[in-house]
């Protein structure tokens, strides 16, 4: 388009020019598309091709515009009506959709009020290939909630166990803090709470550090893991304990999805009851592109990855 083209004047497109261009371009696209489909050969067998299937068909098909979050929430409520032992909570993480924003990590820290040095869901970043053929992959790593968890038998006081829902939990007041479960976990999914706070080394000049007191007060406030109030004071649990992801059981029982699921901007983390054959996750974990971490150890993780 030249400088003297009537469609442009001083570098800006006029309304008439825009409409003409759009109509022309649209017509051209329609003709091209028609020609493409017109020359599409019939299958050799003469049969019609099956309707397309793939990642989008289960997650959000064209005829179902419901957000997967809403679908999972409805399925969650349905699962909560069942006896606990009949549920099988699983998490599915679609690695093709994870953009490595770490929102899930932060949501988890915020939801469970995790202190410094404690993390339930880091997102591991992996680079592979050789320039110019390089790629990156982001692997969120929550607790795998193994069906054969190596961390459970090593606990000297049975403070960690699989609950009726199949989630591996830590009974904080029972845990003696030996960290044998940390050694046993092949996923490093447990961290120890050494009693630190983010504000402990902040300057003490009162009133000069904006928000310091509020921050300190926030850190002392309770979290509500396992549906119990855990104030952070003295050397009381969970300080001194092993801590881990619990699929946000306190949220689940209230009919809410885990914090990492609701905050995932790419809808890459999905959650639900795998025992419900109509659930989103039940469909996804039957895919051929599903995998689990370190399956060779026989731990039977309940976290599945789509690759």
């Amino acid at each position: 388009m030249s400088e003297h083209d009537p469609a442009t004047r001083n570098g800006a497109m006029t309304r008439r020019g825009f409409i003409k261009g759009a109509l022309g371009g649209g017509a051209l696209t329609a003709i091209t598309a028609y020609e493409v489909f017109a020359i599409q050969p019939e299958p050799a067998t003469g049969e019609k091709l099956p309707p397309p299937t793939g990642p989008t068909s289960t997650l959000s098909s064209a005829d179902d515009q419901t957000d997967v979050l809403e679908r999972m929430r409805v399925e969650l409520l349905r699962a909560l009506d069942k006896p606990r032992a009949d549920r099988r909570w699983v998490m599915v993480i679609d690695l093709r959709k994870c953009v490595g924003c770490h929102a899930c990590t932060i949501a988890c820290v915020s939801e469970n009020k995790l202190p410094p040095g404690v993390v339930y869901r880091p997102v591991i970043e992996e680079e592979f290939g050789t320039y110019p053929n390089v790629g990156r992959r982001f692997i969120p790593r929550p607790c795998m909630q193994c069906d054969n968890p190596p961390c459970v038998p090593v606990c000297p006081v049975s403070a960690t166990y699989k609950n009726e829902d199949g989630v591996v939990v830590v009974d904080y007041p029972e845990c003696i803090g030996c960290r044998a479960c940390l050694t046993a976990c092949p996923y490093s999914a447990r961290t120890a709470d050494f009693g630190l706070t983010y504000t402990q080394d902040a300057p003490l000049a009162a009133g000069l550090i904006a928000g310091r007191d509020a921050g300190a007060a926030y850190e002392k406030a309770s979290n509500f893991e396992y549906g119990t109030e855990w104030p952070r004071e003295g050397h009381e649990s969970p300080i001194g304990n092993a801590r881990k992801c619990h699929f946000c059981l306190h949220r689940i029982t209230a009919g809410e999805l885990p914090a990492c699921v609701t905050t995932c901007i790419g809808r890459a983390t999905l959650f639900g009851d795998a025992n419900d054959p109509t659930s989103l996750v039940a469909g996804l974990i039957a895919r051929p592109n599903v995998t689990r971490l370190k399956q060779e150890l026989g731990t039977e993780p309940r976290v599945y990855y789509l690759t």
Binding site: T105, I124, V154, E174, T191, A192, F194
Partner: protein, 380 residues
């Protein structure tokens, strides 16, 4: 009191004084000042617990040479070895107790144990071992050897079991390639016996123990040769461990072996564990003239103990410092989430304090208890 004893008293008291900071910090502020974390989750205290527990079990094995097997050459050494068990075992328990996030809940292991846990089994067995050792000590103090023998037999069986059990505590972890081999439960009883022999060599060499000089020389010679043989077995274990790891070329095993052999702390392995802990003592103790210089033999015993202590650290730290996933430590950073572990001042302080307490207990006991004042029996 000999000069050696005076020096040892001073050093032990100094160690206890230096330990006050660590004990105070641990009791007042919990684990705030430790450097182990969530990935290298067992640190100096666990390694030194293995070492102290090893000395306790090994000393009991050595005491049985006198009290169970009635070997004439070892007559009168049993009481010293038994006392060594009684003063080192509490040291081990203090160290492992301090390592617990909630040591005040230890009673739960007794009242609601999960016996599928090796740790629970060990807590129970170590407690039983301590009780048996104390009972044996009391009986031995009264001088009734007939009643002592059955107690010592039970204690010997427990000593061997706990030695292997500690190896199994690590070995059952399938998540850790370097831990999960049958070598650990097999080698720990041997290494513990070496600890016990080395400790007796130190006691005999530095403090006399036996009144008869000729028998003392013979005992030093026998202990020296036994220790050299055990050091040979230790060297073989190390060779098997690391050569297999390197030959197999699995990523984790190679990385862990590489960390020990060529990593930033390789000097500790080569200089302290191998040079000071195996080569030098083996050469010196093999020389016949060494047995005529018991203090030199005792010094070699100290070297061997240092090597064994360092060996415990090279079993624990490098294996835990290998990340379960590449990039895990970069994924989320924070205190206690690193793979580089160096014990904190507070951890060293506690360890020094425990060494001082055990040494002090040994010295005071052997000085004050009437048990050690009886005329030594003379071997036939």
């Amino acid at each position: 009191m000999t000069t050696t004893r005076r020096v040892l008293y001073v050093l032990a008291i100094l160690a206890v004084v230096l330990g006050i900071y660590g004990f105070g910090s641990r009791l007042l502020f919990g684990e705030r000042d430790v450097h182990y974390g969530s990935y290298v989750n067992w640190g100096l205290w666990v390694a030194m617990y293995l070492f102290f527990a090893g000395m306790a079990a090994g000393s009991f094995m050595v005491a049985s040479l006198d009290y169970v097997f009635d070997i004439p050459l070892f007559r009168n050494t049993g009481r010293y070895a038994l006392w060594a068990t009684v003063v080192t075992l509490p040291g081990a328990l203090i160290l492992i107790g301090f390592d617990l996030g909630h040591m005040e809940r230890i009673w739960k292991v007794y009242l609601q144990p999960n016996f599928t846990s090796l740790l629970a089994q060990l807590v129970w067995t170590y407690s039983t071992f301590l009780v048996v050792a104390v009972i044996a000590l009391v009986i031995a103090m009264r001088g009734t050897r007939t009643a002592l023998k059955p107690v010592m037999v039970v204690g010997l069986a427990i000593a061997i079991f706990v030695s292997g059990g500690v190896g199994a505590l690590l070995g059952v972890n399938a998540a850790r390639v370097s831990f999960q081999n049958a070598m650990l439960p097999a080698q720990f009883p041997v290494l513990n016996l070496a600890s016990g022999i080395a400790l007796l060599l130190v006691m005999v060499g530095f403090f006399g123990v036996l009144a008869d000089p000729e028998r003392r020389i013979r005992l030093v010679r026998v202990l020296s040769l036994t220790l050299v043989a055990l050091l040979g077995v230790k060297a073989y274990f190390l060779w098997v461990d690391y050569s297999q790891a390197l030959y197999g070329q699995t990523q984790e095993a190679v990385a862990v072996a590489g960390q020990v052999l060529f990593g930033p702390y390789a000097w500790a392995f080569w200089v302290l564990q191998i040079g000071l802990g195996v080569v030098v003592p083996a050469i010196v103790l093999l020389m016949a003239s060494t047995s005529r210089r018991p203090p030199l033999a005792a010094l070699m015993g100290v070297f061997v103990l240092v090597g064994l202590a360092v060996g415990r650290t090279s079993i624990i730290f490098p294996a835990l410092a290998f990340p379960e996933f590449d990039g895990l430590t970069e994924a989320f950073t924070g205190p206690h989430l690193g793979l580089d572990y160096e014990p904190s001042l507070m951890e060293w302080s506690v360890t020094l304090g425990v060494v001082g307490l055990s040494t002090l207990a040994y010295l005071i006991g052997t000085d004050r208890l009437p048990y050690f004042k009886r005329t030594p029996e003379v071997a036939s």
